[in-house]
Symmetry: C2
Subunit: 174 residues, 2 copies
């Protein structure tokens, strides 16, 4: 799907196609439809990024809170979104040893208790060891630092999801 | 559930309970968790309302775009959220004559083409005839007027959903 096809989408088709590029936040996709036409994929990505940057800090924390834990309850129960399931599986989150699962669960709880939002990382750009290390280190950070780091990860995830939709799935779907 | 029980909820339980008080916008609920503690139901409602008011106009349009058409495809396909299904049924949207269905569909299309977002109205505060009349009249309005009217309806819907959760379902669930 090229960008002119994207620009021709009704808001309903646009949200149906791109509504989960920011996890469980279709309102962000729905909002940036107002900024059409986009000159490129990068421009669409920039519009999403700008919208997120203009939110109050509570809104950024809200975005993080819409993300599932890594190797958490949603993965175990099969209630992850399609995108998250693929990303977590790609980073080996569905194939942890029992010791790793326990360590991940413990660190996720420490992190959420400290910050009031979950640890978010672009799983497709990291492997299991790297994720565990960064989660552990992040537990020591300040809240504002973690909020900003998490939002940068949200943007990386968004970029990769947009690319997947525009370069592969999206072309078949529309 | 009283407000102290609400204030004691983890962000995960808070979003699971109240995540759809603004249709398909759990990020709004997730954001206002940052503003705890709430002194009352009214304070929680005000926090949501304030968050919406502070969004850019594109964000408000995004909220409207997350709403289904009245008596539209989602109702026919059974893909409405639980809350929307109950509300639309209460206003008789699931029992239109074929003539009414056709008129509603035609007006919805006119409205969406004109404004780029769907007609939103608090179904629980209106009946079938009233909804059809207001939809028809709204098609003549200016975009900014309709955006503002729609957002006020979103807030009415939110208030009634919050009340339902806090006064009935919510008390049983938690």
């Amino acid at each position: 799907m090229d960008i002119s096809a994207v620009n021709a989408l009704s808001y309903e088709d646009f949200v149906n196609t791109f509504g989960n590029v920011v996890e469980k936040c279709p309102v962000i996709t729905a909002a940036v439809w107002s900024r059409r036409p986009f000159v490129s994929l990068n421009a669409l990505e920039a519009a999403i990024s700008d919208f997120i940057d203009e939110l109050p800090e509570s809104g950024k924390e809200g975005i993080l809170r819409c993300h599932p834990d890594l190797a958490g309850r949603d993965l175990q129960r099969g209630t992850l979104t399609r995108e998250s399931r693929q990303e977590q599986a790609g980073a080996g989150m569905d194939a942890l040893t029992s010791g790793e699962t326990e360590r991940m669960a413990r660190l996720n709880e420490v992190y959420k208790k400290r910050f009031g939002f979950p640890f978010v990382i672009c799983a497709r750009m990291n492997d299991k060891a790297n994720i565990l290390r960064q989660l552990s280190e992040s537990c020591q950070n300040e809240r504002a630092v973690e909020r900003a780091r998490g939002i940068e990860e949200v943007k990386k995830i968004c970029r990769l999801r947009l690319q997947s939709l525009l370069l592969t799935d999206g072309a078949n779907k529309l």
